[in-house]
Symmetry: C2
Subunit: 584 residues, 2 copies
């Protein structure tokens, strides 16, 4: 099973993932392009700003545009931002869904668009017409709407949020103790991307304990500090709060926090456990602090402001990853376009204190080092990792990873035989894995430097994974155009890292899954609580069979395959204990 | 000279000041109107957002609109924001200058506008045409431009600021010691509103030591903690930094921080003296921290965000008063429309920490209590005063003043014979003066309550004034429509405050100034350093004689009248010592 790497330094064209329509996990076209178009004024077209206004301005009207009445335009606009923007983006530039800019839509033409909206596609587009969710007239209207230039998206303030806020089961009506026999700390929350659901899967029996309706393409799951509540957020900015103590875990509260979102987190500081949740959105550019018991929205804060370096105004700085500090009552919020990391002090939200750290543009995802003191986060289009000291509340360092477009997810922590504690990230744009020293006290010479570069299966990697009890580093490559590569996982043995160019084992995960139909990709390893096995998603098209493949960490052999008709397009998986304790 | 009040509770129509075109000192139409129009979406018309863009969208085009080419529109737009917006407002709603919204301009018509721009008016409009500052073609273009709907104002980020930044005399070329015999601590900086200048007047000899060109209608003067540097800001957002050590004090650095502005301040915390300056602007809605030696712009922070109460997004929250804390390395920044008070920690501007205190909408001006620990600031259209504890960094209280539209300036501190330390504010909308207890330790029952209401000359008051060495409280009423009232000052004796309805003396300041022509108004008392005399501006039209009248605080008799052809439209006066030490 040992193979040597065949692709080295063969940087993928960044358009690959977009062409494939596979830009899951927050990987959108903008993330991967370099700085061009970063000028905020150029990217922003203020036009129809508020749905509630009577006056309608149809932006960018051109000769031959389809005719829409102002009433139709307003209705279509509302449908777009409620149903479509989560995947296709608020400015229709594409994300999970394909771009719907007018160069694309006009090339396809009205009939094509009408039929596509009506019947959907196996790649994940819902069949809005035949499902009955939109009437024939509405489908016709939406097809005409997307032939017009995109409108400016609507604001989503407290009034709009509160309209969407639902407490399904009030705190006093919830169980006073755990009512099921689930080993919650070893439960996995699995995103079922295209069905708009999550599955809760038992980490020992592999039984699906519940399938819960959520927002579309849930981006992440987070667990309250106590372990009781699970929070998930869809790309459509719908947040579900799930009570794991109920006989069958179910949603107890729900809220929509905007038109498009990626991040949610809960307060983890001692004394503040389960008190607050926070969600960040792409549109509007803001975050909201919510009550940890009910999701009641308490405080909204806009991220609009100046870019850290040239200090020009940016109207749309999106909120990317959010983590909760273990050292202070703070949320750590990545603001993408302005390149700022915010330390949001939640100890007094009426007198909200925010420290705004100048970092680097295009901040995206990241995680803690093994001590949980330092937050390492990728400035992906800049090829850099930014390090924040969450204890002191300051920038520690900014370093180049040496690879193209780092995408760490939360990263992976290893104890390197030569360099001590390191944190790993793979790259979207090439096959390298950077190991970065994270121990300024024990190994000061290596701290915040790339101490070693590994070479994985190929470009198009999204996630690396390890565990304190594991000797292995797992690297995926789901966005690689080669089916063999995108269907496999590379595993490095930590003991081999003393070698100059350590080799990896290749795990043929898709082959092990034994799926006849389609071209599934393997994505995102996630350990169980004990660190003895690792789960991978085998992610197929919506109408084809998918699976979860479980590997024994010691032997690197297949342990189990979970298949179930309900497992539609599984992607991210979150083990409750590892997620709430930031173990990765 | 003793008179009793003749007007009581006779609330002025708030339109008076606007009609008179006398809305100086930050009193604009919006401040005085109540909440209507506070909905941000309704007030904001996103349209042409960036001057630099080639694509031109002429907003709100109507039948019969004058024809402008895109090139003309861009040029006119630039002239408007550079030359006109400071007085007429970025959205043309009027402020110091009259409103130029299309209902007004179209009623007047093209010829009227062209001639007005060409010849100016005695009320303060410059003669742009006959002065040669605009060509005949430019005047024609501007007349057509203001017949069109207002464009969205341009951003003003770091690049724009740096283009306007000039160090006239570098720090190393400035004197190492004071080169003049001026008693700097008893110098007065006097705004010469319509000539775009300040006068520096010696507090003993009454000699004018210098007249310095500045921005238009300087709103305030502030002094660096050491007393060496004087900072002034015009409504056109031009900042001048003046070195008082030079043989003849002169501008050593200059910068434009936006299109329209009101506030400037310098760092006062021990250890940070003279290190930073900060300027807040109305447009763009932001503040900038600058180097205290050179005005180099270092950090710009947008104030766009959510309104404190309904948490809806506001695109244009203007920066009103700024003061510097004596207890922490912080600037205290009033954000008007969102009703937030920001504590901006300047100890580490790369990791900028800002505490955002939820306060009340329409925050405007304010000052410290006598201990300098508490900052009291008016939420003018809400009839309230907000109290901030600058030591603890928290909201202390919000109280109603009982009057209509409080306008404290920095307020006045007195030791009340019954209630101990109090802080006073007068009102724009009626003749009342509210005395608010400020001693939570010595007089806890009275703290942050209106302990007494005094009745002054009439509505239209802008400023109250006292001094630790004075037994008097002086109250002006320059915006009162009655010439006798607007030309007089009411003086209360602190010893009389034991009475239920203490009477005041009336000082006939304008009469004392002995000015034959025009209808001058008396405005803004300012004490000398020792607290033995108080200066009042007698503010006449631009082409008429004005004066400064100096009153002996002990006898309340006329001490001196300063007249000089250079004293054109004097308004605000700032004694160096009292200003830098927050003595008022």
């Amino acid at each position: 099973m040992i193979s040597t790497r065949v692709i080295r330094r063969n940087a993928l064209l960044m358009s690959v993932a977009v062409t494939l329509g596979l830009s899951a996990f927050g990987v959108s076209a903008e993330d991967k392009s370099a700085d061009h178009g970063s000028g905020p004024a150029a990217a922003y077209t203020p036009s129809l700003s508020t749905l509630g206004q009577l006056q309608v301005e149809i932006p960018g009207r051109k000769e031959g545009d389809p005719v829409m009445s102002p009433e139709e335009y307003l209705q279509a606009n509302q449908i777009y931002f409620e149903r479509c923007a989560g995947c296709h983006g608020v400015l229709r530039k594409g994300a999970t869904g394909k771009p719907l800019t007018t160069d694309v839509t006009r090339a396809n033409g009205y009939e094509y668009l009408r039929d596509f909206i009506t019947y959907g596609s196996p790649a994940g587009m819902p069949n809005w017409g035949t499902s009955g969710e939109l009437t024939e007239e509405q489908v016709d209207m939406m097809a005409r709407y997307i032939l017009l230039e995109p409108a400016s998206p609507p604001e989503f303030g407290m009034a709009e949020m509160r309209k969407t806020w639902k407490v399904v089961v009030a705190p006093e009506d919830r169980p006073a103790k755990k009512m099921n026999d689930i080993d919650i700390d070893n439960l996995f929350s699995v995103t079922l991307r295209d069905s708009g659901q999550i599955a809760l899967i038992d980490g020992k029996s592999y039984d699906i304990k519940a399938v819960i309706d959520t927002g579309y393409a849930v981006h992440i799951s987070r667990i309250s500090a106590s372990g009781r509540y699970l929070f998930v957020i869809g790309r459509d900015a719908l947040v579900n709060m799930i009570d794991l103590w109920m006989e069958t875990p179910a949603t107890v509260a729900q809220i929509k926090v905007g038109s498009e979102a990626r991040s949610i987190e809960t307060s983890k500081m001692k004394g503040w456990e389960d008190k607050y949740a926070i969600a960040g959105s792409y549109w509007p550019p803001q975050y909201v602090i919510m009550d940890g018991d009910t999701l009641e929205p308490l405080k909204i804060k806009s991220t609009r402001g100046m870019v850290y370096d040239d200090q020009s105004y940016h109207p749309e700085p999106r909120v990317a990853a959010i983590v909760a500090s273990h050292y202070n009552p703070e949320f750590i919020v990545n603001v993408k376009e302005t390149g700022k990391i915010l330390l949001v002090d939640y100890s007094d939200i009426k007198n909200l204190k925010v420290t705004e750290i100048e970092a680097e543009r295009f901040l995206h995802d990241g995680g803690f080092d093994s001590s949980k003191r330092y937050f390492l986060t990728a400035a992906n289009a800049r090829g850099k990792v930014v390090v924040i000291d969450t204890k002191e509340g300051k920038l520690t360092d900014i370093l180049e990873t040496g690879g193209q477009t780092p995408h760490p997810g939360r990263g992976a922590n290893l104890t390197h035989p030569t360099y001590g504690p390191v944190w790993a990230t793979s790259h979207l744009g090439d096959e390298t894995v950077a190991l970065i020293g994270t121990d300024p006290e024990g190994h000061p010479d290596n701290a915040w430097k790339v101490v070693q570069t590994l070479y994985g299966l190929g470009g198009g990697s999204l996630f690396v994974k390890s565990h304190p009890n594991s000797k292995h580093l797992y690297v995926d490559a789901p966005l690689n155009p080669d089916a063999e590569i995108s269907g496999s996982i590379a595993v490095f043995n930590v003991d081999d890292l003393t070698q100059e160019e350590p080799e990896y084992k290749t795990l043929p995960i898709v082959q092990w899954a034994d799926i006849a139909d389609g071209q599934p990709r393997v994505v995102q390893g996630e350990f169980d609580q004990s660190g003895t096995e690792i789960w991978f998603s085998v992610w197929n098209a919506k109408d084809k069979e998918s699976a979860i493949v479980i590997v024994d960490d010691k032997t690197l052999e297949l342990k189990h395959v979970i298949k179930d008709p309900r497992l539609i397009t599984p992607t991210g998986k979150f083990n409750v204990f590892n997620t709430r304790s930031d173990v990765y």
